[in-house]
């Protein structure tokens, strides 16, 4: 052991995993299976972001039967249900316990440096010297607000999904939700139901029915091979990784969440938010186009499912094919909205998230602050990242998508250590 610059004794270990969420614990499980010595460093508690950065009513948008991680899976009596945040925390907690993961909680990583062939991972109370680092610190650390957010008129409150817990914390009055992702639509629905009239600024989005031909849409995506489509086979990986989450919600009634269900309840749609001018919000004239694109892409996905059934299954075991009503958009959508006149008091930015790598001092970040990696293998030898959207497969974005990624990267890491 050696003394490090900050006076802490440096501990040697093969691998340091940063983050004890489902991704970090999955990787830890794979390392334990092959008896690779490692530690999992967690800034807070296990499943920390689920405990502190989620709204009250959130449920997973994947059904319980899809909650599988290496060596562990949902075992309750409601496989078609959807976990609440509390249940997700319990699930991840239990996973950490049954896999006896070597987690150090309340241990914040303050820096990761490269030192000859080793990495030095500093925390508030120790320095770890290791050959390999697995970054599983999450994809959604920092809510993104586009540049137009700098020009929000005075008197309008801005709020991010990390700050939002329930409608009660919002002013009475109208709310503009920016973004038509799962987050945007779920929060728009809940806020509108609370009596605060909601408008949504709609840019590019991903539309999916909850149930198709009697099965959950995510069951179909697994079945027809879309979930397993690899990152190096996807047409446009930059786009795939930056797409908003699909418009899905996990409810007991298996409700479909889409813009039509929103407008049927009185929510108003506008185009992509482009700017503010003297208290007036301005929107792009592309609303009809982004809706038409989402409808076309959904239909293409449903065509793929129907073709799969025709080629591979007995069609009579599923309900018949159908197509859904095109997204209803006004003939000539309004392009401006006077926030004061319309009584809008709050803007909720459902405009995505980014990871926080402010502690990462190894030069592996691109100019936008994302880790440069090839399917999770970072540009710096021995460094891996896991738990990001479309990391290695389309399903990487979901809990059940991490297992295959973890096993692939674990294999790569094992080869690296033995090299």
């Amino acid at each position: 052991m050696s003394r490090s610059s900050n006076g802490h004794t440096a501990k040697n270990i093969d691998v340091v995993v940063i983050g004890a969420g489902h991704a970090g614990l999955s990787f830890s499980h794979c390392l334990a299976e092959s008896a690779i010595e490692h530690v999992v460093l967690e800034r807070g508690e296990i499943a920390n972001s689920w405990r502190h950065e989620r709204w009250d009513s959130l449920t997973l948008l994947t059904p319980n039967w899809q909650s599988t991680v290496p060596g562990f899976e949902y075992s309750g009596d409601d496989p078609d249900g959807f976990m609440t945040v509390r249940q997700v925390i319990d699930f991840i907690d239990e996973y950490a316990t049954v896999s006896a993961a070597p987690v150090r909680t309340n241990t914040e990583v303050t820096s990761v440096r490269c030192d000859d062939d080793d990495y030095r991972v500093s925390t508030d109370d120790a320095v770890w010297c290791c050959r390999s680092v697995v970054i599983a610190s999450g994809a959604c650390n920092i809510p993104l607000i586009p540049a137009v957010g700098d020009d929000v008129p005075a008197g309008i409150q801005s709020i991010t999904p990390h700050q939002y817990r329930s409608p009660d914390q919002l002013d009475a009055g109208g709310v503009m939700v920016v973004g038509a992702s799962a987050t945007g639509l779920q929060l728009a629905e809940e806020i509108h139901r609370s009596g605060r009239p909601v408008t949504i600024a709609v840019g590019e989005h991903v539309r999916m029915p909850r149930i198709y031909r009697g099965r959950d849409i995510l069951w179909w995506l697994d079945r027809v091979g879309i979930s397993d489509e690899r990152y190096d086979e996807v047409d446009d990986i930059v786009r795939a990784r930056s797409l908003p989450s699909p418009q899905l919600v996990g409810t007991r009634d298996k409700l479909t969440l889409d813009l039509n269900s929103m407008t049927a309840n009185g929510v108003k749609l506008f185009g992509r938010l482009m700017g503010f001018n003297a208290g007036t919000a301005q929107f792009s004239g592309s609303l009809r186009n982004v809706c038409a694109l989402a409808d076309l892409k959904m239909d293409r996905m449903l065509d793929t499912i129907d073709e799969w059934v025709d080629d591979n299954a007995d069609a009579s075991s599923f309900s018949p094919p159908r197509r859904f009503e095109a997204t209803r958009v006004d003939e000539s959508p309004a392009l401006t909205l006077n926030l004061g006149k319309e009584g809008i008091r709050t803007i909720l930015w459902a405009t995505g998230f980014r990871p926080d790598y402010s502690w990462l001092e190894v030069p592996v970040l691109d100019r936008k602050g994302f880790i440069k990696h090839d399917g999770g293998v970072a540009e710096s030898p021995g460094m891996y990242v896991i738990g990001l959207p479309v990391l290695r497969r389309r399903k990487s974005s979901f809990i059940h998508g991490v297992e295959d990624d973890a096993r692939d990267l674990h294999q790569h890491l094992t080869n690296f250590l033995n090299h």
Binding site: R239, G285, N289, L335, T336
Partner: protein
């Protein structure tokens, strides 16, 4: 500078414009115009557009002749550069509109123009259209118009001319403010 025996002539028939303003204020239907263009793909990124008819004052009109405008992409886009790039045509439209406005406003204000020259520049990050970076917009990051105007009036008057021209410019409005676009498609 205005006097009874003005000989200012910028070639703009202001009297007709003012009469039109008066007439159309009470005839909103006649004020509804429809501008049209048609476009046909030639090859590669090369297309030929033409304008001929338009609607206004309650009836169909035709230009004195059909005007053709070709567009293409430059050699650095691996195209043939047979004509101006469409985004350059947008700059041309803005320049033409603002300059026409300056002439009309100057005529109305009895200002004799000697020369009006504009240069326009619009930075664009083509990472947007190439799809390299979803945070980069496809279009211009901004447009800068530099006017050099020689006229029988003060610098302040010239500034006011150019400002008023922007206020009344159709193309300035089209470019600066959101516009709904409806694209219909049918298989030929």
């Amino acid at each position: 500078m205005s006097d009874e025996t003005s000989t200012v002539d910028n070639g703009v028939n202001v009297k007709a414009l003012l009469e039109a303003k008066e007439a159309l204020t009470d005839a909103p239907e006649a004020a509804l115009f429809k501008w049209r263009a048609s476009c046909e793909w030639l090859n590669g990124t090369h297309s030929k557009s033409s304008v001929e008819s338009y609607y206004g004052l309650g009836e169909e009109h035709k230009h004195r002749s059909e005007f053709g405008i070709e567009t293409d992409h430059p050699l650095v886009f691996a195209a043939e550069d047979n004509a101006a790039t469409p985004v350059e045509i947008v700059l041309v439209g803005l320049a033409g509109c603002l300059t026409a406005g300056i002439a009309a406003v100057a005529q109305n204000r009895d200002i004799q123009l000697k020369s009006v020259k504009a240069t326009l520049e619009a930075p664009m990050n083509i990472q947007g259209i190439l799809g390299c970076d979803p945070d980069v917009r496809n279009g211009f990051e901004g447009i800068t118009v530099n006017y050099e105007v020689d006229a029988d009036c003060s610098q302040k008057d010239i500034e006011a001319l150019v400002a008023q021209s922007q206020k009344r410019s159709a193309v300035f409005d089209v470019v600066a403010n959101p516009t709904n676009i409806t694209v219909n498609v049918k298989k030929a």
